[in-house]
């Protein structure tokens, strides 16, 4: 298991090393990243065919640990991530030549790869969530690579909000799973592997979730999280926007890995949730995404945008596959995840080559590139045909499995369930259409606008060529991939026995006819593709439903407006407003807490001694005098009286340390007031009745809250258990007879350290504020 821990840790170690190395090596640091990826790939590959788990304790008291678990599904995902990582690093070393802030770029790319490996292997729910969110954060940094570009910042923020918002849903779902594990498994755990260990534990988990009425909510939350991450309708719109990122990033994050994290987790928890609700939600969302993505891809004119929508569409295919109950569904999801990673990463890299050498990514301006870029065209040919699902290319086999799953579901359930195969075929028609459109950049006549196409360097062509070669291998001998990892991986995501088959159908069956129909209709419709595009464009223009970005913008604007309003109300400028809100909120929270937990105010004890009552009476009079003081000097002096009375009270209540502190601090405070008093206006401003009434009410509220809190917190007269322990052990353990001081410096020294830090913070804030004002800043 050490090798897997190392494989996850290596990219994170590289994060620290890459920026300084960039200063030494320059652009070539990309190859260092590739080397790290090779190492991780090798370590992961060495575990092929095995299972196992290991853990590093983290928060033992809560049973949180960095648990990693190896099985075929995790290995498949990790191999894709690190393998494509190698190619992307190598490609970027050349592609990103001479670009700014490459140290940050490679560090983020490496951190991203580490987080993906973490998601793949994590079996602890907390660790899984952390790695999941880390991928979102890294993606944010990488999409926003062009920090000075407003569009880039907008897209980065959009991706962040959608995917992290989905991550929050996942957090809730994971916590609920952990809660359910208590009754189901005997003890509460964060270990996902323990929940999914065998049929018995899965059944127990399902029963526990159903009993508490949480089964469907958790299912929905997981689906929303995965949908946000994997760009499922209606949260798909961030993915095309994310294409402002540099092409290697698009290839790595937005085709091969990050967007698949959602699919991966769906596959992981599939055995737990499989059922009617699961199919209705997941398969429906998946097929809807498959259709919407394919339709939008047809309208796209930028080749990267086309690929982005196509990615959403294919993610929909995988999600739909996992949504179906039959074992064909699991096979379709897993096998297509594998195929898609190969052909889509290659296609993005091809798009990068085209943009790099031709200078445009607009499909209308491209054509006939096979003359200038023959190798690139060959790569594109193989991978596009796999994408379109043309036999005998790899993508065909996995799509055929989806058709089988949809067909079987229609047969088994009947009625409206026949919509599933129908929609799947419809989406596939559009898939064929946009695949042919992508291919048109390489075929036919070269438009006059394209001239001087340079030969692409080997470093840019080799990575996609390798991927295309792998696609070819999978096409010719799909058994190799299935044997190596895909078959076992599918078994992990299924509850029944799986048998991944990849054959070209020779006799007419339902699924075979579906494939045939999709191909024939798609190819037949291609000559009139422009009419189809115009039709879609008209529909899009007429309906806001087709443009979720508008809704996103509107929501964001509203939230910003509300936030500004709130800020202006709570934080308007005068210190008085600010203090009012802070105090009122604190009191409300404290009192609400007392009310909701139902604590009772204990009966009062014996009356305080006369001396104490006298001192407190003087203090009360002084407090009234402070409020009524006509000038600052009078106010400060009466405040002093109040403070000293409190000090005397401490003496009477036998708290010499407190009394001493109070005395000294009170003296200091007086001096400070005297220092600044000359700067203040001599007399208070005219008092308004409403403000005075509000302040008085607030003061009473704060006083009452403090009073109640003290009564509740110190219910009896004697020493608490803790206090007694301190008194008994002060001399022996701390070596001091002053218990207060021993507590401060020994028993609870960590608190004292924190308080020292607070003093530092206050001093630093004062210094910084003054320095900012001296420089003329007001923020």
């Amino acid at each position: 298991m050490e090798s897997v821990f190392l494989a996850v840790a290596l990219p994170f170690l590289a994060v620290v090393a890459l920026p300084p190395l960039h200063r030494v090596l320059g652009d070539r640091v990309g190859y260092v990243g590739a080397a790290v990826a090779v190492a991780s790939f090798g370590l992961v590959a060495s575990r092929l065919g095995t299972t196992g788990s290991g853990a590093v304790a983290w928060v033992p008291s809560m049973d949180v640990a960095l648990r990693l678990r190896v099985d075929a599904w995790a290995l498949l995902f990790a191999l894709l991530a690190s393998g494509i990582g190698v190619l992307v690093f190598a490609y970027a070393a050349r592609y990103m030549h001479g670009k700014p802030s490459l140290g940050r770029f490679y560090a983020a790319l490496s951190a991203f790869m580490g987080s993906i490996l973490g998601v793949a292997f994590a079996s602890d729910l907390v660790a899984l969530f952390l790695f999941w969110e880390l991928t979102s954060v890294c993606s944010f940094v990488l999409i926003g690579y062009h920090t000075e570009d407003a569009e880039s910042r907008y897209s980065a923020r959009m991706a962040m909000i959608i995917t992290v918002g989905g991550g929050l849903c996942l957090l809730v779902a994971l916590l609920l799973l952990s809660v359910a594990s208590g009754p189901a498994l005997g003890a509460r755990t964060f270990d996902l592997a323990a929940m999914l260990a065998n049929e018995g534990t899965i059944r127990a988990m399902r029963a526990a979730l159903s009993d508490s009425g949480l089964f469907v909510p958790v299912l929905v939350l997981v689906a929303v999280a995965a949908g946000a991450k994997s760009a499922q309708v209606p949260l798909h719109f961030w993915l095309p926007n994310a294409m402002v990122a540099p092409t290697p990033v698009s290839a790595f994050l937005h085709s091969a890995t990050m967007v698949k994290v959602g699919v991966y987790v769906l596959g992981r928890v599939r055995p737990l949730f499989l059922g009617e609700a699961w199919t209705l939600l997941v398969a429906t969302v998946g097929l809807a995404t498959m259709t919407v993505g394919a339709v939008l891809a047809v309208t796209a004119n930028d080749i990267k945008e086309l690929l982005a929508y196509s990615t959403a569409s294919h993610l929909g295919l995988m999600v739909a596959g996992f949504g179906f109950r039959t074992h064909y569904g699991a096979e379709a999801g897993v096998f297509h995840l594998f195929n898609h990673a190969l052909f889509k990463a290659a296609l993005f890299l091809v798009a990068g080559v085209v943009a790099h050498e031709v200078g445009t990514r607009r499909l209308d301006d491209l054509g006939g590139l096979y003359r200038d870029l023959p190798i690139t065209a060959a790569i594109a040919g193989v991978t596009v045909l796999s994408m379109a699902g043309v036999p005998p290319f790899g993508g065909f086999y996995s799509k055929e499995l989806l058709f089988k799953a949809a067909w079987e579901t229609g047969l088994a359930e009947g009625g409206l369930y026949w919509l599933y195969p129908a929609v799947a075929v419809g989406a596939s028609v559009f898939t064929v259409l946009y695949s042919l459109r992508f291919l048109s950049a390489f075929l036919g006549e070269r438009p006059a606008t394209v001239e001087d196409v340079a030969r692409p360097p080997v470093a840019l062509v080799a990575p996609p060529a390798l991927l295309a070669a792998l696609t070819l291998v999978t096409s010719v001998a799909p058994g190799l991939a299935i044997e190596a990892v895909v078959g076992d991986a599918a078994a992990v995501t299924a509850v029944e026995a799986v048998d991944v088959t990849a054959k070209i159908p020779t006799e007419p069956s339902g699924p075979a006819l579906m494939s045939l129909a999709a191909l024939v209709v798609g190819a037949a419709a291609y000559p009139s593709v422009d009419r189809v595009r115009n039709g879609i464009a008209r529909f899009e223009a007429g309906s806001t439903l087709a443009r979720p970005t508008n809704l996103y913008d509107w929501l964001l604007d509203e939230v910003e407006w509300a936030s500004d309003r709130l800020d202006a109300t709570v934080h308007g400028g005068p210190l008085r407003t600010h203090v009012t809100w802070v105090l009122a909120t604190t009191c409300a929270l404290v009192l609400l807490g007392f009310l909701s937990t139902g604590v009772a105010v204990p009966p009062t004890g014996p009356l305080a001694p006369t001396a104490m009552i006298l001192v407190l009476a003087v203090a009360a009079v002084a407090a009234v005098a402070v409020a009524a003081a006509p000038s600052h000097v009078a106010g400060v002096l009466t405040l002093g009286i109040l403070g000293f009375m409190v000090a005397v009270f401490y003496v009477l209540a036998s708290g010499p340390d407190l009394a001493l502190t109070q005395l000294v601090v009170e003296t200091l405070l007086l001096v400070v007031f005297l220092l600044v008093i000359e700067e203040l206006p001599a007399y208070y401003a005219e008092l308004r009745v409403r403000v005075a009434a509000r302040d008085a009410a607030l003061s009473v509220l704060v006083g009452a809250t403090a009073f109640v809190a003290v009564l509740v917190a110190a219910p009896d007269q004697g020493l608490s258990e803790t206090a007694e322990w301190y008194v008994n052990n002060a001399v022996e353990e701390g070596g001091g007879t002053n218990v207060v001081n021993v507590v401060l410096t020994d028993f609870r020294a960590f608190d004292t350290l924190g308080e020292a830090a607070v003093i530092l913070l206050a001093a630093a804030s004062v210094l910084v504020l003054l320095a900012m004002r001296d420089r003329g800043e007001t923020g």
């Binding site: 010499p656 340390d657 001493l660 502190t661 000294v664 601090v665 003296t667 200091l668 001096v671 400070v672 005297l674 220092l675 600044v676 700067e679 701390g734 070596g735 001091g736 007879t737 002053n738 207060v740 001081n741 021993v742 401060l744 410096t745 020994d746 020294a749 960590f750 004292t752 350290l753 020292a756 830090a757 003093i759 530092l760 206050a762 001093a763 004062v766 210094l767 003054l770 320095a771 001296d774």
Partner: protein, 153 residues
Amino acid sequence: MTTTIVRTTARVVVPIVLVVATSLFLGGHNAPGGGFIGGVLTVGAFVLVYVAYGLDYLEVGVLDREVDPGGGILEHRTVAAYRRLFTLGLGIALASGLAGMLFGKPFLYQHHDYVHVPVLGEYELASALVFDVGIYCVVVGGLLAILSVVGAE
């Protein structure tokens, strides 16, 4: 405020306050006192000097050094010294906490022992004192830094 009465009183009172502060600080482990109280009282003594003689007095009158006339209060050498003092204080407190870890004890573990000094008798040495020195420095440095820049306004 820099009247003769204040100055004369300050001359007499400040040394006494400093001695009391030191005794409160050192005796803190067994009697009322400790790093925080000692620190605040020390600050009180310094504030008295500032009120009576001004911020530059310590530099010019006591340490006999030239005061750089230029620059704002933030670049003032005294303020810089306070900043160094509170940083040092936090460093000491942290270091005393880490020292225990060298001996395999938890962070902030405190040790104490009794030593016999000839003539004077039995004395206690507690590592908590080092931690308290750190707190003392933080309090003195932090508060004085705030007071001197606010006072200079």
